[in-house]
């Protein structure tokens, strides 16, 4: 357990030394949200209606952008090879890194949603629902992202492949994430049912990711 916590602590300390990365990610998240009104016009009624979708798209893109930092630096300085031969099994290490990754890339986005909610004139209830759906959905997004990052870590030109690979697989998270805020007109089911599905998908992905990802890292380094 101490080794597991040490893996999380190490990533957090590395990020604290280089806090620009997290801030850049939040900045990207907010700028995606800010750029949308320029494309669809400043009508606050339209923006209020689209706010959940815009926040989710912004979060989705930001999570994709932050993928590369999950394993790439460890691969380049050889830490990943050390991890493979550590006493702690590789899936556990990947799990620890996944938790740290969520704390560093998803939690800041959730904390930054008030800015977007304010700019997009969302009401208070919508805002809380957005926060709830992001809290439920981002672990799943982070887990899928980790699979993508693990698969492409040995590729020098892998930057764009991982997002392309995981975008189709992330569609259920997007569907249920937005439906947790406001279910679409044709959907059968309530917002709370969508929230439960979202949580279920996130749990499933978080359960399989450490193993799939560890297998991909082992296969890639052979």
């Amino acid at each position: 357990m101490t080794a597991f916590l040490a893996v999380i602590g190490r990533d957090l300390r590395l990020a604290a030394k280089n806090e620009g990365e997290v801030l850049t990610l939040v900045l990207f998240f907010v700028s995606v949200g800010v750029i949308v009104p320029f494309a669809i016009g400043p009508d606050s009624e339209t923006l209020r209606r689209l706010a959940p979708a815009i926040v989710w798209i912004a979060a989705f893109l930001s999570m994709l952008l932050g993928l590369d930092r999950l394993f790439r630096p460890d691969f380049e300085d050889g830490t990943l090879t050390l991890f493979r031969h550590a006493r702690l099994p590789l899936p556990a290490i990947v799990g620890g890194k996944l938790i740290a990754h969520w704390l560093l890339t998803a939690l800041p986005l959730v904390l930054a949603t008030p800015i977007l909610a304010l700019l997009l004139s969302a009401d208070l209830e919508t805002f809380w629902r957005v926060v709830l759906s992001l809290l439920l959905g981002t672990p799943g997004l982070a887990a899928l992202g980790a699979i993508g990052a693990g698969i492409t870590v040995t590729l020098r030109r892998g930057g764009l492949i991982a997002p392309v690979l995981i975008t189709p697989l992330a569609i259920p998270i997007l569907i249920f994430g937005v439906a947790t805020i406001a279910p679409p007109a044709g959907a059968a089911g309530s917002a709370s049912a969508a929230g439960l599905f979202l949580a279920a998908i996130s749990l499933l992905l978080c359960a399989i990711t450490p193993f799939a990802c560890a297998l991909a890292i082992t296969a890639g380094e052979d």
Binding site: I147, I151, T152, T154, L155, R157, G158, I161, V164, L165, T167, P168, L169, I171, P172, I175, F176, A179, P184, G186, A187, A188, G189, F197, I201, L204, I208, A212, L215, A216, A219, G220, D222
Partner: protein
């Protein structure tokens, strides 16, 4: 003496050894091509002369279904073949499973694209639109993106042996995810008619439509198996060429 002659001729090594696979499949290709052509001839004859020209609920666009349904079936069948091969790669490190997986991916993408294309041709007169964000259409589109992603992943690696294990992991993650995608997209929006062939109370269409459809599906499936086999043989040759080129380059380097 070559390595080939030391291999015992049991069935497993006949499948597993690339050289042996290439030699026992050589006589299979031509008969399979003939069978496929015959099946297609029968299926087209049935589609044009046995089947009615129109049915009460889809009208004269009925014949598009004879092309659309087999492609839609193959779009899922090919993924099942890939997932089974992926298990072969990960569990038994079966060399032909790699080749099978790689050969199937572009074929799956093509059949999926054809299913979407014929579906939208069918949708224009029937639903009045080429594209609708309906559950089944959307999940087929997502499947196409997954296929294209897998093809891109294969191409991103120089070392195809290492690529195989990584693509296999992704293929299996995808196989786990596709039912979730399908379910969630259906939940999201649905317009496509419900399943009408495989139903507990028997197929919901007359026999003179069902029979041509089944024969056509069989013809398309044999076409896939044939193309898959040919692509696998091509891939074996490509790998052999790659090894020869590398050996030659190494020999030249040694001389220099």
């Amino acid at each position: 003496m070559s390595i080939d002659s030391t291999v015992k001729g049991n069935w497993f090594s006949r499948i597993a050894h690339p050289g042996q696979f290439a030699s026992w499949t050589r006589p299979v290709v031509l008969p399979m091509a003939i069978v496929t052509a015959l099946l297609f001839a029968i299926a087209f004859w049935m589609a044009f002369f046995v089947s009615p020209a129109a049915s009460e609920n889809v009208g004269t666009t009925l014949r598009i279904l004879y092309i659309h349904v087999p492609n839609a079936w193959l779009s899922q069948f090919v993924y099942a073949v890939m997932a089974a091969s992926a298990l072969g790669t990960l569990v038994w490190r079966h060399p032909m499973a790699d080749v099978s997986m790689k050969a199937a991916a572009p074929l799956g993408a093509t059949f999926t694209a054809l299913a979407l294309f014929t579906g939208s041709l069918w949708g224009r007169p029937t639903w009045g639109t080429y594209w609708e964000w309906d559950g089944r259409m959307t999940s087929t589109l997502v499947l196409l993106f997954i296929y294209l992603g897998i093809v891109a992943l294969w191409r991103a690696f120089d070392d195809q042996l290492r690529a195989a294990r990584i693509v296999a992991i992704f293929t299996l993650v995808g196989a786990l995810n596709i039912p979730i995608v399908k379910f969630s997209v259906d939940w999201w929006s649905s317009l496509h008619q419900p399943t009408s062939v495989l139903r507990p109370d028997g197929p919901r269409m007359p026999a003179n439509i069902l029979t041509p459809l089944l024969v056509m599906t069989l013809a398309f499936t044999t076409l896939f198996l044939l193309l898959h086999l040919v692509r696998m043989r091509t891939e074996i040759r490509r790998r052999r060429l790659y090894t020869l080129e590398r050996n030659r380059a190494a020999a030249l380097e040694q001389r220099a």
